[in-house]
């Protein structure tokens, strides 16, 4: 079993430069190495031959819908499930047969799994006591940890006397107190309301940077993944579809699945009519014209491809813009005012609906749009991406 999936390392530079992130350095040693991991439950393959390298101090997000296998992968890292085949190496040590209680890994559970019969301080102390740390040491480290998550004053409370956000922080403190090399977080912000989530996201990043622990986060929330992570692995049906930095996953999705899963996107189906190293032209009946993209692709001539275009990259106007390419016409069908931006749904003559978002720069929009307006949609030649799969 030597056929490992190559990890996408764009502009990989061989020079060990401290400014270049580890995953872009070719000779960097991964901290967590997942090699051809497969997990089957009976006939069902939950995780299908995944290989993945995660480096020290990374905050890696596994992003996927339910049933994508992300939680199974996380549980295999923690040792609660054993892989059907493949290897997991943490800091160079093979984890095969290493029981959960012996792994240098701690996990923060989605349900937080706080022990209801123990106080907050005893919950945090649980792991240290199992290590056989001295009473004095336990007390000191628990106090440190609780102070870090700003719960120093609530040590004597029981979990049921805390709010959701406080419980989440206790769970975090409990999973960090043993100073694990690797922290696994299962939907860490899932149970929090929107405002608390946003605050906690940044808190998590601060803690991660402060302690230098490698985080692996499982989430179904793309916003959470975008904000938190150094890199994202997008999962679907047990495989990792794309591994990249948040910016690249968003701007350069490698497939329709990723493009549609992360953010919203307009997809135009079309046929490649001109294929040059530096640009392609795609004839799209859906868009009602030829689309020009300023990057080359590897494809067969006349292949059917999809052009992905993010709603915020489209300009909307009443007057024909002075560009000949990438300009189509349509009728506004729906408008949603969302405060910071407005969303338009524009119907093209082909019947295709295009989603356009415009930031509301000024209090009174420069150009007023209303229902049934005939508008031009245009975008730059480097705004769209051609997807072959």
């Amino acid at each position: 079993m030597t056929s490992s999936q190559p990890i996408d390392t764009q502009n990989a530079t061989a020079t060990a430069n401290s400014n270049v992130p580890l995953w872009k350095q070719q000779d960097a040693e991964p901290f967590l190495k997942i090699e051809n991991i497969t997990k089957k439950f009976g006939e069902f393959t939950a995780v299908d031959n995944i290989s993945l390298d995660i480096y020290k101090n990374e905050l890696f997000c596994l992003l996927g819908g339910s049933g994508s296998g992300k939680s199974t992968l996380l549980r295999m890292l923690a040792g609660f499930e054993s892989p059907t085949s493949g290897r997991i190496l943490i800091d160079g040590v093979d984890m095969a047969g290493v029981q959960p209680w012996k792994r240098p890994v701690n996990m923060m559970f989605q349900s937080y799994a706080l022990f209801p019969h123990l106080s907050v301080a005893d919950n945090v102390a649980f792991g240290l006591k199992r290590e056989g740390a001295s009473k004095h040491e336990v007390k000191k480290r628990v106090a440190e940890m609780l102070d870090m998550v700003q719960l120093g004053h609530l040590g004597k409370r029981k979990p049921h006397q805390l709010s959701g956000g406080q419980r989440q922080r206790v769970a975090l403190a409990r999973s960090l107190v043993k100073r694990p090399k690797l922290l696994l977080l299962d939907e860490p912000l899932g149970a929090l309301d929107k405002k608390l989530r946003e605050e906690t996201q940044f808190e998590l990043i601060n803690i991660q940077e402060e302690l230098g622990v490698t985080f692996v986060v499982v989430t179904h929330d793309q916003e959470e993944a975008m904000t938190l992570s150094t890199r994202i692995g997008v999962m679907n049906h047990g495989v990792i579809v794309q591994t990249d930095e948040p910016h690249d996953v968003y701007e350069y999705p490698n497939s329709r699945f990723v493009a549609e899963f992360i953010g919203s996107v307009n997809l135009f189906e079309g046929k490649v009519v001109e294929d040059q190293p530096a640009h392609v032209r795609i004839d799209s009946a859906e868009a009602g014209g030829t689309l020009f993209v300023n990057h080359g692709i590897s494809c067969a001539p006349e292949q059917i491809v999809h052009v992905a275009l993010r709603p915020e990259k489209i300009k909307i106007s009443h007057n024909r813009p002075d560009q000949t390419e990438n300009c189509i016409q349509g009728v506004i069908e729906e408008i949603a005012y969302m405060g910071s931006l407005s969303v338009f749904k524009v119907r093209l003559p082909s019947g295709k609906e295009v989603r356009v978002t415009q930031p509301n720069f000024t209090r009174h929009m420069g150009e007023r749009f209303t229902w049934e307006d005939k508008v031009f949609l245009s975008w730059d030649e480097d705004s769209s991406v051609v997807l072959t799969s």
Partner: protein, 271 residues
């Protein structure tokens, strides 16, 4: 407040009357002065003092308490183990048979349980010379057998409703399965174990049929003594004894109820 319909009030009243009228009659008659059980002769505590001078009854009561205590304790240990296996061991060969077999004593007529145990004890004695004769020991074994089934069912139900990630979290934090059970699982299923113990204690104290089969001479439990006395004609002493037992059981049940409710509230808040 919504007014309850007349029918519901009537149902509730009738239910209470049906359940408690005999008990109230018994309690009142235990304070009867008359020697005749069915004739009211005024208030008195005389039967209580007579009761405490009746060695046969006192001995039987002490024996019953001893048997109930030991069998409840042993049943709790074995039943907890069985319940734990049923809910945590995952699928294994013969699980269906095991779970069916565990709960069989719940539905089996007591006469059959008693008879089969008697036959077993006799056969064992014939083959191995143990248990030599029947007495306290065999009663305890018999009671453990059927009490354990109740405990297993209660513990299994509690474990199934418990969040399994709590156990995973404990393992993740470095607890080996052996210490994990005592540190996390046991404290969380404690209410089930306590109620299992109380139920076993009551069942054992209550049992007449099985004990009659497996007891030997000179090892009569309290229900056996009462039953034999009643056959010869009820004395008011039995009423007094019954009243004391009802008082003890009532206190136990109320205490258990408070404990359960406190625990339930604690868990409800957590969810």
């Amino acid at each position: 407040m919504q007014r309850k319909s007349l029918f519901l009030r009537f149902s509730a009243g009738f239910g209470f009357l049906f359940l408690y009228a005999p008990i109230i009659a018994l309690i009142i008659y235990s304070f009867n002065k008359s020697k005749l059980v069915t004739v009211w002769g005024g208030w008195s505590l005389k039967w209580y003092s007579e009761l405490f001078q009746n060695d046969q009854i006192i001995d039987a009561a002490l024996l019953s308490l001893k048997i109930a205590f030991i069998s409840a304790t042993v049943a709790v240990v074995l039943g907890t183990m069985a319940g734990y296996v049923l809910s945590r061991f995952g699928p294994f060969r013969g699980k269906m048979i095991f779970s069916g077999w565990i709960t069989a004593p719940l539905v089996m007529p007591e006469v059959i349980t008693g008879l089969s145990l008697l036959l077993l004890f006799v056969a064992l004695e014939g083959m191995f010379g143990w248990p030599s004769g029947r007495g306290t020991g065999t009663i305890i074994i018999a009671h453990v057998t059927f009490c354990m089934a109740y405990v297993a069912v209660i513990v299994q139900a509690r474990l199934s409703s418990m969040d399994e990630t709590l156990e995973e979290a404990a393992m993740d934090l470095g607890a080996k399965p052996s210490s994990l059970f005592f540190l996390v699982t046991l404290p969380l299923i404690a209410p089930a174990i306590i109620s299992g113990w109380l139920l076993s204690f009551t069942l054992s104290l209550d049992d007449l049929v099985i004990a009659s089969f497996v007891s030997g001479p000179g090892n009569s439990t309290l229900p056996m003594v009462i039953f034999s006395k009643v056959r010869l004609g009820v004395t008011p002493e039995v009423n007094a004894l019954a009243t004391i037992m009802i008082a003890i059981v009532a206190i136990g049940v109320i205490a258990a109820m408070f404990q359960m409710r406190r625990q339930a509230r604690l868990l409800a808040k957590l969810d």
